[in-house]
Symmetry: C2
Subunit: 220 residues, 2 copies
């Protein structure tokens, strides 16, 4: 196989390492708590390289956030839910966000950190808006298809649905540490995770489906 000869000078690779290290550090400590020295060390790079390639700490944060958001939306698009029957598509969508948040916990903390700062880093990000549009469109399409098939309610707003779909998974996971104390229950055991996913799927179905659809599903 074509082994890439190890290069001593490799700008692309260095930038990649810095970005990866920054993602870990920003996710773990937030923008304010993250340390550029730690990022450089973890990247096996010199701090000066970070400033050379990315400008400053906040510009690096912005890029990390945009990339994380892009990865999430790309994974979502790859689901190809347009080809699924509406009820199945909704189930898969809920399961997808749940599993993605679990597999990529940095995503949640990065988004939280950006919201703590009132989204000032991406406020004027064209890239951010462009990455979002197809995702909003997908929910509109799904709701229309479901309604036309007589399965879904006809008056649902796609934005509200997008938000609710994310919220039931995101909130559980982002607040899992205080939640464990408040509810005196292990929210992250395998059984608990499975139970929550199933609960979320049922919740979303009850929100979108007509009472008739629900009755049929429950009698099946």
């Amino acid at each position: 196989m074509a082994l890439a000869k190890k290069k001593f000078r490799d700008p692309d690779e260095t930038q990649r390492r810095i970005l990866a290290a920054a993602k870990v550090e920003f996710a773990k400590n937030g923008l304010g708590g993250a340390r550029v020295d730690v990022i450089a060390a973890r990247a096996n790079a010199n701090k000066r390289m970070m400033y050379h390639y990315f400008g400053n700490k906040e510009a690096l944060f912005k890029l990390v956030l945009e990339n994380a958001y892009g990865d999430f939306r790309a994974a979502e698009a790859a689901l190809a839910l347009d080809k699924e029957e509406p009820v199945t598509a909704l189930r898969k969508w809920v399961a997808f966000s749940w599993n993605y948040f679990i597999a990529n916990p940095e995503f949640i903390t990065l988004v939280n950190s950006e919201n703590l700062h009132k989204a000032r880093h991406i406020k004027n990000s064209k890239r951010m808006q462009e990455m979002s549009r197809p995702f909003v469109g997908r929910m509109e399409t799904l709701l229309r298809r479901g309604a036309e098939a007589g399965l879904f309610r006809a008056d649902l707003d796609a934005v509200q649905m997008n938000i609710t779909l994310a919220s039931v998974s995101y909130y559980y996971l982002t607040n899992r540490f205080t939640g464990t104390i408040v509810f005196e229950r292990d929210l992250m055991s395998e059984a608990a995770l499975k139970e929550r996913l199933e609960f979320n799927i049922q919740s979303m179905l009850r929100i979108v489906c007509t009472p008739e659809t629900l009755r049929k599903m429950e009698h099946a």
Copy 2:
């Protein structure tokens, strides 16, 4: 009226001012981004006083968080939902959390900050657990009453319901800054807030009510 003479030395008042200032600063910048100098200045107190009364920055943070949580649960208890008819009680509960999060935005950012730190400040807080128990119990009672009246589904888990009830409001509000960009829509206009609250109430009702109950409500 009995005007309290302004005292030059007033330990209770000084502590109160420091706590209030700390709440603002921690909420705005998170634990890592908060500055003790800023807290002292905003409290019109000396930094030394903070260390004298509260020990250190993290102990102060813990107390601020516990107080914020206590305030929230106290307000919730004051609703006296036990006396309401189940469907009304659920509506009022959803509206309460929604309005509380809007009126007390620090609550959300404080909880987020604590979760970023894996809840290490309240991990062994007896006070935190004690404040939580009645709240979990309230949902159990409500669900039982609703089920006995034939209004609610009989198989609902109180913890899942508590989490979901909070999530649909909390997520919308905590992520309102990135949300505004992602959805290219003002999520905080008066109309948008009203719409979201109504959507959340309907969502919760659809999750808990039996299909028969829903049908009756929709035909009314």
